[in-house]
């Protein structure tokens, strides 16, 4: 009883860190429920990836194969995972709340007639879960009622699973999909070209806000500091709304939730909805010319300064430090 099915999301032939986060959370839940943790990798040729995931401490990995699973599409994946959930008789299905996790899991829950808790941050011993609401201004303790329960976890709230020293068996299965019921067609994926680390994987994030004043300034002022620090670049919703940078850089309630070792907020006032996306960072630095800006209330180190002067200076100082 209490088995857990972990969704092994893959992108471009590899597992992002967020998948290992789901594995870690799934292992923790299975151990609380004294059940097995089973991972599933879906695709048109998922076996190699399934073998890779078998190293991370799960009891088995199921490679679910079907031509319709070649590109991620919600309808085909929901069908395949719902069928597998029933077949394996698991109590929980779990994924990290990535773009795919958020798109797929509610659809999967509906197909299973199961309740779903989004973006949980804590698993309690009494079968309840904790999830943030109101941009993180409230933590809700929730209870799910039913034989099957669907969960997504917030990527920043759990560690990534580590290789376990043993390798679990990989079981290959043909996915149960009614091809006639599929209605969605994949057309294209246009990747944002960047040599920088992904926001959800970076150790350091440097984010810019409306204070940068233009997209051009993100390039000429902020990016040299981002690259000098080997950081990922983020942005506030205000900067995205103003069209300075693409939305996939947005950190906040309605963008990405991050918790790096170091978060540098540049020209960001600190609206509630931005804080919701970064306040769990280990060290927060704020650079803002307005000393009353709410960002300073959560910053470990605040510098009241004109960013157009301070940011190039900081890039130079970091460079000096690296060469000292």
């Amino acid at each position: 009883m209490g088995d857990v099915l972990i969704f092994g999301e893959h992108q471009g032939g590899h597992f992002p860190k967020t998948t290992l986060t789901a594995v870690h959370a799934g292992l923790e839940l299975a151990s609380k429920r004294t059940g097995k943790a089973i991972a599933v990798v879906a695709g048109d040729a998922p076996e190699a990836l399934a073998t890779e995931l078998a190293k991370y401490g799960v009891s088995k990995v199921i490679a679910v194969e079907h031509a319709a699973l070649k590109n991620y599409l919600a309808d085909a994946h929901a069908q395949a995972l719902a069928a597998l959930t029933k077949k394996e008789g698991v109590e929980f299905v779990i994924a990290t709340a990535t773009a795919i996790g958020k798109d797929l899991f509610p659809r999967l829950a509906a197909r299973l007639g199961a309740p779903m808790a989004s973006e949980i941050v804590t698993m309690n011993d009494d079968d309840t879960f904790v999830r943030p609401m109101y941009a993180g201004n409230a933590l809700a303790t929730v209870e799910l009622d039913g034989p099957v329960k669907v969960l997504t976890v917030r990527g920043t709230a759990f560690d990534a699973a580590k290789p376990a020293g043993s390798v679990a068996p990989v079981e290959k299965q043909a996915a149960e999909i009614d091809v006639g019921a599929l209605k969605m067609e994949f057309v294209a994926f246009n990747a944002t070209k960047s040599d920088r680390p992904q926001l959800t994987e970076a150790r350091i994030i440097v984010s810019g806000g409306r204070g940068l004043k233009s997209g051009e300034n993100f390039k000429t002022v902020l990016e040299p500091l981002v690259d000098e620090m080997g950081a990922a670049m983020g942005a506030s919703r205000a900067a995205v709304d103003a069209g300075f940078v693409p939305n996939d850089l947005q950190v906040g309630q309605t963008g990405k939730v991050v918790a790096p070792e170091l978060y540098v907020a540049v020209g960001i006032s600190g609206a509630i909805q931005h804080l919701a996306g970064m306040k769990d960072s280990k060290i927060i630095v704020a650079i803002n010319k307005d000393e009353e800006a709410p960002i300073f209330n959560v910053a470990d180190y605040g510098l009241v300064a004109d960013l157009f002067k301070a940011v190039p200076e900081m890039a130079a100082e970091v460079k000096k430090l690296k060469h000292s």
Binding site: A109, M116, A138, A140, G146, N190, R237, N247, V285, L321
Partner: protein
């Protein structure tokens, strides 16, 4: 095209949210209630589609009588009529989605556009559940919606870039931030909205299962992060990050 736009009433995003000491909810005195920002984007997109192709935009809310206020605002933006499915019960996402699916069936909707997420419970579930309930295609986190004949192409905001998918209607689309800039209600719009139809339907008259399977037991205030200190210069900042925080 018949477009159904389910909308939600939420506290204004600028409101400071306080959890009640007994954990039963949030303090609602002094809260200004507004249309969820992503729902406003959904209304705007529906109006733009209607303006290009003709059709009807029907708003839908599931809540109490007070929610009429937000439906009227949506009507003032230009929607044709509104339906309030009335309930005082606290429904979960499954139940809300079942109601929306049921109304879409009754209304013979071709397209349902709704916000990707409500900024109160931050669940990001309802659109996807509606799509599966109706066995319709879904395009979540849309940043561009285009029609060619009966085919709809949607650009979606996903991790690491933009994804394009296509499908035939009927379908469910959930809105992301950059899809459009919602219009304000004009004064003539507000006048006209008073005369538009706003129908109330009792939730338990729809014959759908409303028993919640996801229950919120308690709310707690999150631990507060302590403010640190100010540094005097960039040089000092880089020094403390190196020697004290050991972050660089």
């Amino acid at each position: 095209m018949k477009i159904l736009v389910p909308i939600k009433r939420v506290p204004d995003p600028a409101t400071t949210i306080r959890v009640l000491p007994d954990g039963s909810g949030i303090a609602t005195d002094n809260v200004k209630w507004v249309i969820n920002p992503f729902c406003e984007i959904a209304i705007e997109e529906a109006l733009r589609i209607k303006e290009k192709q003709t059709g009807e935009v029907v708003l839908l809310s599931v809540g109490q009588s007070t929610w009429q206020e937000q439906l009227r605002t949506g009507l003032a933006m230009g929607a044709d009529r509104a339906i309030l499915v009335k309930t005082d019960a606290s429904l979960d996402q499954l139940a809300i989605a079942r109601i929306i699916a049921k109304v879409a069936g009754n209304e013979e909707s071709d397209l349902i556009i709704l916000g990707k997420q409500a900024i109160d419970d931050d669940s990001n579930q309802v659109g996807q559940i509606v799509a599966e309930t109706l066995a319709w295609p879904q395009a979540t986190f849309a940043s561009k919606v285009e029609f060619a004949g009966d085919k709809c192409t949607v650009v979606r905001e996903v991790d690491g870039g933009l994804e394009t998918i296509a499908f035939k209607l009927p379908a469910v689309i959930t809105t992301d931030l950059r899809l459009n800039e919602p219009r304000y209600a004009s004064l003539p719009g507000i006048m006209k909205a008073r005369k538009k139809e706003l129908k109330e339907v009792a939730a338990d008259s729809l014959g759908v299962d409303l028993v919640p399977k996801l229950k919120v037991k308690r709310l707690d205030a999150p631990p507060k992060r302590q403010a640190g200190r100010k540094v005097a210069s960039v040089e000092e900042l880089v020094q403390v990050l190196h020697t004290e925080a050991k972050a660089i």
